[in-house]
């Protein structure tokens, strides 16, 4: 898994490439935690180059999403491939997270 981070205006934009699983999820979890440390933070995670996500990956996304809810922060996910979307659907997560088709839409939704 590779992770890229940049600041786009007030939004922290993360991009995750490869596999989000028990080995790599803690790395994303740590990035999300620091990006969302400030109340009112806006974070986008682009999954356009994500191969798959296992339950360990969903765990860190769930923790970050709960944290966003509690601290008036925004977390928007984007770029789900058909495979990744299917996994979100299997886990019942499509309605739980804010998800947009493209990174551009996610950046708009988060700002």
């Amino acid at each position: 898994m590779e992770m890229h981070e940049e600041q786009v205006g007030a939004v922290t934009a993360l991009a995750v490439k490869g596999r989000l699983d028990s080995t790599t999820a803690p790395l994303l979890g740590a990035r999300l935690e620091s990006a969302m440390a400030r109340p009112g933070a806006s974070v986008v995670v682009d999954f356009v180059n994500l191969e798959y996500v296992s339950s360990a990956g969903f765990r860190v996304l769930l923790i970050a999403s709960k944290r966003a809810d509690e601290s008036a922060s925004r977390l928007v996910l984007s770029g789900l491939s058909a495979k990744v979307r299917h996994l979100f659907d299997l886990g019942g997560f499509l309605d739980l997270f804010s998800i947009t088709a493209s990174r551009e839409e996610a950046l708009k939704a988060a700002s």
């Binding site: 699983d21 028990s22 339950s55 765990r59 809810d69 299917h86 019942g92």
Partner: protein
């Protein structure tokens, strides 16, 4: 080479080693990406369960993972000498709970069941044996793909 065996005695790096072994086999036999992806997820879930719950008693343990590419399926056999644990007995997760009440417990087994064509568990003497099988053709899961 259609088979690979990986022995695990410590948690650190174990899942990565099994994944790399499966990647190597899959590359050799032109396994479709969808089937490989599903098996990698199921292995992550199964091994994480054993390493988290089976290896936490302070005793030395060993997991043996046999990976095989067969004409129509990928098969993984996972045997461990940890306390008896049938992952298939775990309660199904509530996939409709609100964000506040949502838990990830049980999700790994749910993914295993839904992504594999077949999952079976047996206790043989002092060993747990979990067999995962994923049909090689696309959309091989019995519940159907979206």
């Amino acid at each position: 080479m259609r088979r690979a065996v990986v022995s695990i005695t410590r948690a650190e790096g174990a899942v990565e080693e099994v994944q790399a072994s499966l990647d190597g086999l899959a590359a050799h036999h032109a396994v479709p990406p969808d089937a490989l992806c599903d098996m990698q997820i199921a292995l992550d879930e199964a091994l994480t369960n054993i390493l988290t719950h089976g290896f936490d008693d302070g005793e030395p343990h060993r997991i043996e993972v046999t990976l095989a590419i067969e004409p129509t399926t990928i098969r993984a056999e996972i045997e461990d000498d940890c306390a008896a644990f049938d992952p298939l007995s775990a309660a199904a997760p509530d996939l409709t709970a609100s964000l506040k009440d949502r838990r990830v417990g049980g999700l790994g087994v749910h993914f295993m069941r839904r992504l594999m064509s077949e999952v079976s568990y047996s206790r043989i003497g002092p060993r747990n044996r979990l067999v995962l099988r994923r049909a090689l053709e696309t959309g091989g899961t019995e519940d159907g793909n979206a």
